[in-house]
């Protein structure tokens, strides 16, 4: 088994209270299902949308967000799967996909030692 990180990008922040609650319920169901199948190593953390970017030799500090709003990473999860294909398959159940968002699936690098 290998480890993967799901990075959640973008996703609509609009919606009526009933819709928001529905989205909430879908996330909880999705995590529950993944967890029951043993795929969740760490649910992860939400990230604040604001931040700072420090760059270059001159260490210039600029205020975030650093990407287009639709690409901002809102959180991450640590996932366990057989291989990248399975991990990508698992990510297809993510509710963010129904709300104009995306999941970036990245293998955690293995050290050959």
């Amino acid at each position: 088994m290998s480890e993967f990180v799901f990075l959640y990008r973008g996703g609509s922040r609009d919606g009526s209270p009933a819709e928001m609650q529905q989205v909430m319920q879908k996330w909880m169901n999705w995590f529950k299902e993944l967890g029951e199948k043993g795929h969740v190593k760490d649910r992860g953390q939400p990230l604040e949308r604001a931040g700072k970017l420090v760059s270059g030799k001159r260490k210039t500090v600029t205020d975030g967000p650093f990407a287009e709003v639709k690409d901002v990473v809102g959180g991450y999860t640590l996932i366990v799967a057989k291989n990248l294909n399975e991990a990508a398959e698992l990510s297809k159940g993510c509710p963010i996909l129904e709300r104009d968002g995306a999941v970036e699936v990245r293998p955690v690098m293995k050290l050959d030692m």
């Binding site: 009526s16 609650q21 909430m24 319920q25």
Partner: protein
């Protein structure tokens, strides 16, 4: 963990009501923005860390913190509630003031205050009901449009305009003034009555939507009953008529939300607990000299609900009650319902006579159930050809798929 049904909708109402009191009614849209932020935050945090023990309290605390941010950010650009402006402007008093204004004593009457504020005489009854649904029940424009089977554009226009009217008032309604409270109360009762009727008689083809509207109206009415000034006989009567009618709702709509005529209803599906609650409320309504139209309508609902079978219905009492209703709130629709009751007791011909004698009969010309009533009575008299024509006229006027199906079935029965 499952969230309790409608948690977000109901919390939206509570949060907007409290925030609007602190921000001032002219900042209604800022209050709505803060509520949306609180929901976004809940979504972001809960999905990773799970739903907190007390989700309502979590949301309220988040709203409070977001409100503090908004107050700091906006205090040079905006003015807030006049009576709080000075405390909110100074950093020394800002946080303690917000803390206090979110305390249990301060928030106790917020929803009721908002309910009264929505029923401004500058708004039509329909606009008041839609505004209550939007602000206090957390329905979006889209959801109201689908519940009222109206176009999105027209509901959006109505809500936008109503919010503007509300936001342009100098302050929220003062519910502590006995005289003002009593003066505004009938409008509030009326708006809740409309909300209930939209669910009970309304046009939405979705059973769930209609049941939800009825429940919302009942929830807000019981809120009104918790206030000493609101707990008057006419409010009890209003609550009674809602409970007694809601008790019949499961039988009124079949599984797919289709209308079932009274005679065809499966009475074993009536909700006995609701019926009993309705009767208790009706007993509490029966004090004092006032006889409101809600009293009479509740009594009519009780006679229907208490009959074991349609043929056991005490039609004489129902006719009497409709006579009283005509005296309090005369309308061609009430007269039509009375005529239908007369037909049940004295035969279809007498019913047809009564219908022909209705004053302002022409006002019923576009009401599909007027033609349907004529159809039923003609059918009962054995005049199938006439009946079919009347049902066809009703079908032409049908306002939604549910009514259409119902009238098509009646045409099919004319054989």
């Amino acid at each position: 963990m499952e969230l309790s049904e409608h948690l977000f909708r109901h919390e939206a109402g509570r949060m907007v009501a409290t925030l609007t009191r602190i921000f001032g009614v002219h900042n209604l849209s800022l209050a709505e923005d803060v509520v949306q932020e609180a929901f976004c935050r809940a979504l972001e945090v809960w999905k990773y860390r799970g739903v907190p023990e007390n989700p309502s309290a979590w949301l309220m605390t988040t709203a409070k913190n977001r409100a503090l941010d908004a107050l700091r950010r906006e205090r040079t650009a905006r003015t807030f509630a006049p009576e709080l402006t000075r405390q909110l402007e100074s950093e020394w008093t800002l946080a303690p003031t917000v803390e206090e204004e979110f305390g249990p004593a301060a928030v106790k009457d917020d929803e009721l205050r908002m309910m009264f504020s929505c029923c401004s005489p500058r708004l039509s009854e329909e606009a008041q009901a839609a505004l209550i649904l939007h602000i206090l029940c957390g329905f979006s424009v889209e959801e109201i449009a689908s519940a009222f089977v109206s176009s999105h554009a027209s509901i959006e226009k109505r809500i936008t305009r109503s919010k503007k009217v509300l936001a342009s008032s100098t302050k929220l309604f003062d519910i502590s003034g006995t005289v003002d409270f009593a003066r505004r109360l009938p409008a509030v009762q009326r708006a809740l009555y409309l909300l209930f009727n939209e669910g009970y008689h309304g046009a939405s083809a979705e059973k769930a939507v209609r049941v939800e509207l009825c429940h919302e109206a009942m929830r807000l009415t019981s809120m009104l009953l918790k206030n000493p000034l609101g707990a008057v006989p006419s409010t009890y009567a209003l609550a009674a008529l809602m409970s007694l009618n809601a008790a019949r709702l499961p039988a009124r709509l079949d599984g797919s939300g289709n209308l079932t005529a009274l005679a065809g209803q499966d009475r074993s599906q009536y909700d006995q607990a609701l019926a009993e609650q309705g009767l208790r409320l009706l007993e509490r309504a029966a004090t004092g000299p006032e006889l409101s139209d809600y009293h009479v309508e509740a009594a009519i609902a009780w006679v229907h609900t208490s009959a074991q079978r349609t043929e056991d219905t005490d039609w004489a009492t129902i006719i009497c009650l409709y006579d009283q209703l005509m005296a309090i709130r005369p309308s061609p629709v009430v007269a039509l319902n009375r005529a239908i009751a007369v037909a049940q007791r004295e035969g279809p011909q007498r019913g047809l006579d009564e219908i022909r004698a209705i004053q302002d009969l022409e006002r019923l010309a576009n009401y599909p159930f007027y033609h349907a009533a004529l159809g039923e009575l003609e059918m009962d008299s054995g005049h199938l050809e006439n009946a079919r024509e009347h049902f066809a006229a009703a079908l032409k006027l049908a306002r939604n798929p549910m009514e259409r199906t119902f009238f098509e079935h009646r045409i099919g029965a004319c054989k």
